[in-house]
């Protein structure tokens, strides 16, 4: 091996290590900054940690499902609307049947169906999946709003009895659900051919096709996993607040994209996709927003935190896109 090749190999390894550990390092720094800010202000750390966990839980599970779609080089902007729709149908089911089990079943099934519909439409019409997700977002939001306003009337929302899921509103139960789902996702993504082939399709669809991999099959699996995440996200939403309004989960769609990029996921998917990016990025994003809002009081806090998040987003996209500019195939 020539000296030049050796140098290239070393620099590539350094870059890989940096891109692998940078999100984790950033999360650690953000966590320390957050603790420092809370301590400086004399606020209650225990309550704030609980808030961070609750704010991240739904985002992290829905975004973990979305990683499967992003890995394919596609994206789904309808996940927030699908979460609202699943939660709405779940509440509607409970209102009609008074059955908690049926409600949970409907929440998960509707989440998966919403997501699968996008991919099936894309396959049927032979158009990019993200195009159908844009249409799905409008349809799901409109249908949910119609149900909520017609059934909610003057309340402006629909709800289940607040005590119904209250016993489940504990960090341990939510952690258990998250661990279960993320564990399954990690297993499929890292230890089965499904994950490997999805990365292959995302990195080079033509090559994958010539190797005999059917992209449509793996697209459907990706959307099904995302749908499962949507169902779990909707369920966690109802555990936290047992009511939905037309604004419920409204910001999730965009936050998912920001969170997974914060977690070190390349925006174009492919071989460097990381399933844990959603978890790391979700917490990083929530910590960054909350730290800035604590530090910058008043109306300006919100605006500045959005601007800083945008800057971080651009910076991370810049870093993760370096592989493509280096003209080297990812290894």
């Amino acid at each position: 091996m020539s000296r030049k090749e050796n140098t290239i190999r070393k620099s590539y390894r350094r870059r890989k290590i940096l891109s692998r550990f940078m999100p984790l390092l950033a999360l650690l720094l953000l966590f320390l900054s957050f603790l420092l800010a809370v301590e400086k202000k004399g606020y209650r750390t225990d309550l704030y940690l609980k808030i961070i966990f609750n704010e991240t839980a739904v985002l992290a599970v829905v975004a973990t499902g979305a990683i499967f779609i992003f890995t394919l080089g596609s994206f789904d902007i309808s996940l927030g609307a699908a979460t609202l729709f699943s939660a709405t149908l779940g509440i509607l089911t409970y209102m009609e049947s008074q059955s908690v089990f049926l409600m949970i079943f409907v929440i998960f099934i509707s989440g998966i169906l919403c997501s699968l519909t996008s991919s099936l439409l894309a396959s049927f019409f032979r158009i990019p999946a993200f195009v159908t997700t844009v249409a799905m977002m409008s349809v799901l939001t409109a249908v949910s709003t119609q149900i909520i306003t017609s059934r909610g009337g003057a309340l402006g929302g629909i709800s289940i009895p607040s005590g119904l899921l209250k016993p489940l509103d504990t960090p341990y139960f939510k952690l258990l659900l998250m661990a279960l789902y993320i564990g399954i996702a990690v297993f499929i993504f890292n230890f089965t051919k499904i994950g490997r082939r999805q990365k292959f399709i995302g990195a080079n669809p033509l090559c994958a096709k010539l190797t005999g991999i059917r992209a449509s099959r793996y697209t459907i699996i990706a959307f099904a996993m995302a749908g499962l995440g949507v169902g779990l996200g909707a369920f966690l939403t109802l555990i936290y607040t047992p009511s939905v309004t037309s604004g419920t989960a409204g910001s999730i769609g965009m936050n998912i994209i920001v969170a997974i990029v914060f977690g070190g996921m390349p925006i174009s998917g492919g071989a460097d996709s990381k399933i844990y990016a959603a978890l790391i990025g979700g917490f990083s994003y929530t910590l960054l927003n909350n730290t800035l809002k604590i530090l910058i009081e008043g109306n300006a806090g919100y605006g500045i935190s959005q601007m800083v998040s945008a800057l971080f987003f651009l910076l991370l996209v810049f870093i993760t896109s370096m592989n493509y500019r280096s003209e080297q195939l990812p290894r």
Binding site: S11, R14, R15, L18, M22, A26, L29, L30, S33, L36, A37, V38, K40, K41, G42, Y43, R44, L47, Y48, K50, I51, N54, E55, T145, T149, S150, G152, G153, A154, L155, G156, G157, S159, S162, T237, Y240, T241, P242, S243, V244, T245, G247, T248, A249, G250, S251, T291, L292, K293, L295, I296, G298, N299, G301, Y302, F312, L315, I319, M322, S326
Partner: protein, 409 residues
């Protein structure tokens, strides 16, 4: 490649330093709010006491969290100005505002943040799920009051006995309906026959009831019904008003539109081209359409607040009727909160949380407009310290409090 690495590391380091610097500068070094009950509002020179009503009364300094769904509207800003620049000067209270809240989850999260920041009470201007707001306040042992609105009757019955639920003071849905009805009646009495109606953000419940009231005031039925709840129910179902379902002899609904988006200007122009005798809005028209309506020479009305912008529209433009709130109308709710935090909450005779419906004030000319606008300015609001002191303290009774809510003058 080394250059790239250097760039990345320097950017990362800069970001870290930026956050570190913000973290260092942001803190004011104050000890925990839990440990320190000193004043954190503007009334720092007299932190622990406030005098009024001819007697010395000691008030505990405390922080109050304010939940808001609107952070930029003229009315919302006027309320905020009154709290932060008048109330915080007169009483040892610091107001912490939430960001714009869009759903029940963000409301709960905001309440928990206020609890973590050492607040003792929450005042809510946000209505995604008020029942859940009360439950979150109970969990975090925070007093809770609704300003400028009310809970649904069923929700109120469910939560009225909670010791943390202090009061709800604001227009009820009945009041919203009546405000719309009076507005409709006004134009009917003025001889208007052809009406254009703006439904604002239907299916927002407040706007639905106002719109149902307008139809009633104009003598119109909707879907064959005149009943308040039936009409409101149909509007909820339809997500708006369908012109073909409107019928009546006294007036004609010539145009209807709602919302604000890409097609709104076209819809407004179409409504104006229908040559209505009046343009009735159930909210937000003075924010969105004042200029166009003034140039159209169509008399218009709105349910909004007594602001300088609306005064100008009434003086120089075509605004002929305004049902509104004035900025200090949110004063009584803070009086109720002060009482609760200081250990002598004012409650109904049966021990339930205070529930007082606050009517809109109506102006149909500049003189009546100024009665609320000029009398409710900056350092001399209608609910000034003298008036509020009559509502604060253990000697205050329910009758006096309610009377002053209904008639501050």
């Amino acid at each position: 490649m080394k250059k790239n690495l250097r760039n990345i590391l320097s950017i990362a380091l800069s970001c870290t330093l930026l956050i570190g610097a913000l973290a260092s500068c942001g803190g004011n070094g104050e000890p925990s709010a839990e440990k320190n009950q000193n004043v954190s509002g503007k009334n720092k020179e007299n932190p622990a006491t406030a005098e009024g009503g001819g007697e010395d009364r000691a008030f505990e300094a405390f922080k109050t969290g304010v939940l808001v769904a609107d952070v930029s509207g003229e009315e919302a800003l006027a309320f905020r100005d009154y709290y932060e620049n008048y109330i915080a000067e007169q009483y040892p209270i610091e107001f912490l505002y939430s960001e714009q809240l869009e759903d029940a989850a963000s409301e709960r999260s905001a309440i928990e943040k206020f609890a973590a920041q050492g607040c003792k009470a929450i005042i809510s201007f946000s209505g995604s799920d008020r029942a859940r707001q009360i439950e979150s306040c109970e969990e975090n042992k925070l007093y809770y009051a609704v300003a400028s609105g009310m809970l649904d009757d069923k929700q109120y019955e469910e939560h009225k006995d909670s010791p943390y639920f202090v009061a709800q003071i604001g227009p009820s849905m009945e009041t919203e309906y009546n405000a719309g009805r009076e507005m409709g009646k006004y134009f009917l009495e003025q001889g208007a026959e052809k009406i254009a109606l703006y439904g604002a953000f239907i299916p927002n419940p407040m706007h639905v009831y106002r719109a149902a009231g307008v139809l009633s005031g104009l003598g119109l039925s909707y879907g064959g019904s005149d009943d308040k709840d039936a009409v409101a129910g149909q509007i909820f179902q339809d997500q708006g008003i369908k012109l073909e379902k409107v019928s009546g002899d006294q007036a004609e609904l010539a145009a209807y539109f709602q919302g604000y988006g890409d097609t709104t200007t076209d819809e407004l122009n179409a409504a104006i081209q229908a040559e209505p005798d009046a343009f009735i809005s159930v909210g937000m028209a003075t924010t969105f359409f004042t200029q166009q309506l003034n140039t159209s020479a169509v008399p218009f009305s709105d349910i909004d607040s007594f602001t300088s912008g609306n005064r100008k529209a009434m003086e120089e433009g075509e605004l002929t009727y305004l049902a509104g709130k004035y900025s200090s109308s949110v004063g009584p709710v803070i009086a109720a909160v002060i009482n609760a935090v200081n250990g002598h909450p004012l409650r109904n005779e049966d021990g339930s949380a205070l529930s007082v419906s606050q009517d809109y004030q109506v102006a149909s000319d500049l003189e009546s407009f100024d009665r609320y606008f000029k009398a409710d300015r900056g350092s001399s609001p209608i609910y000034d310290k003298n008036l509020l002191d009559q509502m604060i303290g253990q000697d205050t009774d329910l009758e006096t409090f309610t009377k002053l809510v209904h008639n501050p003058a």
